[in-house]
C-alpha cells in the first residue's frame, strides 16, 4: 500500500528514473519493436491502453473507487470521434476534442450519481451505468450503427504550422499517440504527486476521517471520476483512429473488467507505474501466449486468480519487495 508518509508533500520534478525509462521506451519503441519480432501497430495499441489505464488508476488505485464500467467512457470517446468525423467535419483536433468532451460530460453526470457511494455499492452501480451505455450503443442503431458500430472512420492529417503529417501511416500515427500518451502521463504524474493526489489517497484510506479533516470528499470523488472519464475519452478517440471504427464491444463488461485486471496485475494499488506494467504484461501475454495456444485467456485468467490470492499488490508490489531496505521496511515510493 502507498502510505501517506511515503509521499512527499510536493511532487518535485516528474523526471525520475521510472519516468525517464517510460518516456525513453515510448520514444524508441518503433526502433526495436520489429527487430524483436513484434509489429508497429502493437505499439499504438499499447500506448493507447497505457493512457486509458493510467487515467483509470487515479480512480482505482489512488482514490480507491473500483469502477467496473470504465470501458463505457473509452467507447463514448470512440463514438464521439467517429460521429464528429462523419457528421461535423473531418478534423483531428475537433474529433479528439469531441471525444474528450463527450466522455467528460458522461463522466460528470454518472460521477454525480455515484460519488456518494462507496465500496461494493459503487462497483455495482458503475457496472449498472456501464451496461446502460453499452446497451444504448447497441440499440441506438441509427446513430451508432448497432452491433457493427461505426465503420470507416478516417484518420485526419496532423497539421502543425506548415507541416502536414499523414496519420494513415502507422509509424507517424504511433509518434502522435506516443506524444499524447507521454504528455498526459506527465500531467497525471504531477497530479498524483501533488497535494491533490495526497487527498485522494487519504480518502481511500479513510473516507470519514478525510471529511472530518475538512476535505469535501464528494467533490474529490466526482472530480476524479470525471477526470478519469476524460482521459478514457481521449484514449477512446485515439482508439477509434487506430481501429478506424468504433463498436459496442469496447464498452462491454468484459472490456471494463479487463482494464481492472490489467491495472491490478501490474500493481496499480501500490504504484503510479503499476498500470503501465499491467498493460505491457497483458499485451505480451496476448501476443506471446496467444501465438503458442488458442486458450491464452485461460492462462491469463489463472495467473490473475493466483495473483489475487497470493499477491494482490501485483508486479509493482513484487518489484518493491525486491527493493526493500536492509531494515526490512519498504523503500519510499514517492517518486517511483
Amino acid at each position: 500500500m502507498i502510505t501517506l508518509s511515503d509521499i512527499p508533500r510536493r511532487g518535485g520534478s516528474p523526471f525520475t528514473w521510472p519516468m525517464g525509462l517510460f518516456l525513453a521506451g515510448l520514444a524508441t519503441a518503433p526502433l526495436w519493436l520489429a527487430p524483436i519480432g513484434l509489429y508497429q501497430y502493437l505499439g499504438v495499441e499499447i500506448a493507447i491502453w497505457i493512457l486509458f489505464a493510467l487515467g483509470f488508476n487515479l480512480l482505482f488505485g489512488y482514490i480507491g473507487l473500483h469502477s467496473f464500467g470504465h470501458g463505457a467512457y473509452l467507447g463514448i470517446g470512440a463514438y464521439a470521434f467517429g460521429l464528429f468525423q462523419k457528421n461535423v467535419d473531418v478534423s483531428l483536433w475537433g474529433g479528439l476534442g469531441a471525444a474528450v468532451l463527450a466522455a467528460t460530460l458522461a463522466g460528470a453526470l454518472v460521477g454525480a450519481c455515484l460519488s456518494h457511494r462507496r465500496g461494493i455499492y459503487f462497483a455495482l452501480m458503475s457496472i449498472g451505468f456501464g451496461q446502460l451505455f453499452w446497451f444504448s450503443a447497441i440499440k441506438l442503431r441509427h446513430i451508432t450503427g448497432g452491433e457493427d458500430g461505426l465503420l470507416g472512420i478516417p484518420r485526419p492529417d496532423l497539421v502543425i504550422g506548415g507541416w502536414r503529417f499523414d496519420l494513415n501511416d502507422n509509424a507517424a500515427f504511433y509518434w502522435f499517440v506516443a506524444a499524447i500518451t507521454g504528455l498526459v502521463t506527465l500531467v497525471l504524474w504531477r497530479l498524483a504527486n501533488a497535494p491533490f493526489g495526497r487527498v485522494l489517497q487519504a480518502i481511500r484510506q479513510n473516507e470519514t476521517r478525510a471529511s472530518f479533516v475538512g476535505y469535501d470528499v464528494w467533490r474529490y470523488k466526482w472530480a476524479t471520476f470525471t477526470l478519469s472519464a476524460a482521459v478514457a475519452g481521449l484514449a477512446g478517440g485515439l482508439f477509434a483512429m487506430a481501429q478506424q471504427s468504433a463498436y459496442p464491444d469496447v464498452m462491454s463488461l468484459h472490456q471494463s473488467g479487463l482494464i481492472v485486471m490489467m491495472v491490478l496485475v501490474g500493481g496499480g494499488l501500490v504504484s503510479f507505474w503499476g498500470p503501465v506494467l499491467g498493460v505491457l504484461l497483458y499485451f505480451i501475454a496476448r501476443d506471446v501466449l496467444g501465438g503458442l495456444t488458442e486458450t491464452w485467456l485461460l492462462w491469463y485468467g489463472l495467473m490473475f486468480v493466483v495473483m489475487v490470492m497470493v499477491r494482490p499488490e501485483g508486479v509493482a508490489g513484487l518489484l518493491q519487495g525486491l527493493r526493500r531496505r536492509p531494515d526490512g521496511r519498504p523503500a519510499p515510493l514517492g517518486k517511483a
Binding site: G119, A123, L132, L298, G301, M309
Partner: protein, 306 residues
C-alpha cells in the same frame, strides 16, 4: 388492460425465473458478503454438464453408455437435473478454497477473484464444448405449447416457473426452518459469535458457497432450454442476478424475490411496447429504486459498504 394480460403473465413467469437465477447469488452475497461474479459461469457450467449427461458425451462408447442412451429422455433429464448442479457445486467448493486468502480484506478482492474465475470457467467451457450454440433436450411431457384464452403459452416456461417457486420455497424453508439454516444466518449476522459457539466457520462457508454454486447450476439447467447454451451466457446471467440483489437489498431474501418479479414484470411489459428496449428497463428500475432507497427495497446495512 386485457391486452396487457399475457405480457403480465409473461413478466411474472420471467420474474420467477429471474428469482431462481438470483437465488444462489443472493445466498453467497448475504451470508459470505462475496459478490460472486462467477455465478453466471457456474450457471453455464451446470447447464453444459447436464447437456453432457443427457447426451452421454464421455461414455457413449461404453456398454453403460449405450444402455444409458436407450433410456427415455425424461429419465436422463431427471438425472441431469441432479448431476449438473451437483458438479457445478463441486466447482463452487473449489472456488471457495481459492477465495480463502481474500477473507478479511476489502470486498474488492473477492469480486476480482471471482471475475478471474468467471473468465477461466468460460474458457474451459469453450475448450471442452466448443463455441457454437447448443440445445438442451427436454422430455416431451413438458415440451410444446398450450392455448389459454386464445393465446399460446409455452409449457416449458410454466414448468420452469413452477420449478422456481418450489426452489425458492425450498431454500426459504431450509434457511428458516432447519438448524443448518439458523447457523448459516447466524454466521452472516455475527461470525465471531458463531465461531465462539464452536461451529466450524470455514466449513460453513465452504458448504454455503457450494450450495450457492449448485443453485446457480440448477438455474442453468432449468434456463438452458429457454435461453439456449453458449459459452458467454454467463455474463447475461450474472448481470440480472446482481441487479436483482441490489434492487432487493443485500441480505434480504424476500427483497430479492420481490425485486426479481418487479424486474420480470418491467421487462415483460416493456417488451409489449418497445421490444428492443425491454432489457434496458431493468437498469432504469435499478436507477429509480436506488435513487430513492440507497440500500434497495428491503436492504440492511452491510459490511460491503465500507
Amino acid at each position: 388492460m386485457l391486452a396487457l394480460l399475457p405480457h403480465i403473465v409473461n413478466g411474472l413467469t420471467l420474474g420467477l425465473l429471474f428469482a431462481l437465477i438470483a437465488l444462489g447469488f443472493m445466498l453467497i452475497v448475504g451470508v459470505m458478503e462475496v459478490i460472486n461474479l462467477a455465478h453466471g459461469s457456474l450457471f453455464t457450467l451446470g447447464a453444459y454438464l447436464a447437456l453432457s449427461t443427457i447426451g452421454a458425451d464421455w461414455f457413449a462408447g461404453t456398454g453403460f453408455g449405450s444402455w444409458w442412451l436407450g433410456l427415455p429422455v425424461a429419465a436422463r433429464y431427471v438425472v441431469a437435473l441432479a448431476l449438473g448442479p451437483l458438479l457445478a457445486g463441486a466447482a463452487g467448493l473449489l472456488l471457495e478454497l481459492c477465495l480463502r486468502p481474500t477473507y478479511g480484506k476489502a470486498p474488492l478482492y473477492g469480486l476480482l477473484l471471482t471475475f478471474g474465475a468467471a473468465l477461466v470457467i468460460e474458457e474451459v467451457i469453450r475448450l471442452v464444448w466448443g463455441t457454437g450454440e447448443q440445445h438442451l433436450p427436454i422430455p416431451a411431457g413438458i415440451d410444446g405449447a398450450f392455448l389459454l384464452g386464445g393465446l399460446i403459452f409455452s409449457t416449458y416456461k410454466f414448468f420452469a416457473a413452477g420449478f422456481s417457486i418450489v426452489a425458492i420455497l425450498g431454500v426459504w424453508l431450509f434457511l428458516e426452518r432447519t438448524p443448518y439454516g439458523a447457523i448459516i444466518k447466524a454466521g452472516a449476522h455475527d461470525s465471531e459469535m458463531v465461531r465462539a459457539l464452536g461451529y466450524d466457520l470455514s466449513k460453513l462457508r465452504l458448504l454455503v458457497f457450494g450450495f450457492g454454486a449448485a443453485l446457480a447450476g440448477l438455474a442453468g439447467v432449468i434456463m438452458a432450454p429457454i435461453w439456449g447454451l453458449r459459452p458467454h451466457l454467463g455474463i447475461d446471467v450474472v448481470i440480472p442476478a446482481f441487479l436483482i440483489i441490489v434492487i432487493g437489498g443485500v441480505g434480504s431474501f424476500w427483497g430479492a424475490v420481490i425485486a426479481a418479479i418487479l424486474v420480470g414484470l418491467a421487462v415483460g411489459v416493456t417488451g409489449a411496447y418497445a421490444p428492443a428496449w425491454s432489457l434496458l428497463s431493468m437498469y432504469v428500475l435499478l436507477v429509480l429504486v436506488l435513487g430513492f432507497r440507497s440500500r434497495g427495497l428491503l436492504g440492511r446495512k452491510s459490511a460491503l459498504e465500507n
